[in-house]
Symmetry: C2
Subunit: 210 residues, 2 copies
Amino acid sequence: MYSQPESRIVIIEDDQTIREGYAYLINHTSPYQVVATYPSFDAAKHKIAKDQPDVIILDIQLPGTNGIDALPLLKKLLPQVYIIMLTVYETEKTILDALANGASGYFTKNTPTVKLIEAIKDVLNGGGPMSPDVAKTVILSLQKNPDSPLTKRETQILELITIGKDRGQIAKELFIEVETVKTHTKNIYTKLNVNSKAEAIQVAKDKRLV
Amino acid sequence: MYSQPESRIVIIEDDQTIREGYAYLINHTSPYQVVATYPSFDAAKHKIAKDQPDVIILDIQLPGTNGIDALPLLKKLLPQVYIIMLTVYETEKTILDALANGASGYFTKNTPTVKLIEAIKDVLNGGGPMSPDVAKTVILSLQKNPDSPLTKRETQILELITIGKDRGQIAKELFIEVETVKTHTKNIYTKLNVNSKAEAIQVAKDKRLV
DNA sequence: TAAAAATCACCCTTTAGGGGGTATTTTTAA
DNA sequence: TTAAAAATACCCCCTAAAGGGTGATTTTTA
């Protein structure tokens, strides 16, 4: 499905200057049309379905319902819509929350309109545009700790533990005995300085061991 | 730290045509210099440290040690190096594995050299460049299931369960009684059709509920 | 103003997980 | 080639944390 010139854009952004600035530039320098703009989600929620937007540009810092909370609600109203987040924050948690809740792209507010228009094209073509700094944050969040004290096998077992497998399942999956899994587990606990599965999972997440 | 014109590039790629093509174009149309190229990691491992590369362009499909396995080894040899992955595969697992193991960027092989040169600039400036399709895959991997049968509280508790917290810790964290946590847990189990924490975690991961 | 969600309590049962050892085989790196 | 590290496997013991059943009140939301 390729980007249609008549694609409809809605902007939800509380800052009037930014809102109107983007709207003007998108309308005048791109093939897309801004069919509506709203200063908040609460102002938009009863009308936006009628706007039939293909793409929503959504600010995170909104009065009332914030952008992150608005995301699933918008998705419920308009299941097919692409949502591009706009924000001054770029903390890992905010970014990850937005993407987890169905955002298609993520940009910081200093993004020039031309990049935003490119992003609209990208999402309409099925891509997932992000500014490089945002992408960096996402990549870092996926990165494992390169200085893990665990061996390959131990890491593998810890990974299976973190996804909820019990000894029996792990043994089957790795074609080894349950007792061997136990031995590895003990060694993992010793190395991580813990003495329960629960703690091991917490340390694993915390130190990005898996 | 800004991109230095004299930044040193190494290419590890088994296809001679691609390898030499990229090398030629980077040397002649960018401010960077390709200081060495290798057809495999095994051919590179004893020499690459002396090349002192700032950026390595690394193919995934290599003879001998493949690119994913080579990643941590290269990082050990050259802790500061940025690695951009190049591949024909774009399966979620491959992409995520590469990023988990310390890749800075990820491109499919049809990427034009000019985009690759941009990517080199991006990583040197601390960004995390990806082609839009790769970014899309990454975003999808982060996405939660919008049709979760769980309530907000239940989701919250399931999330804490998946990171290894026990009833007591969850209760403390949410300022509620342990018995309440138990009730929620029971309801979660009913909704997910499971009857243990382990199973719940597996379903949660599987259906991207958390 | 119903319905859904969130809160709390008591009883009772069990198993998966954890701690302590010991030992052999395979792989890796020097 | 050789010593060290990693992976494999077994035995005994023990209990804390998890799970099941049932009932009830308060708060939130549509």
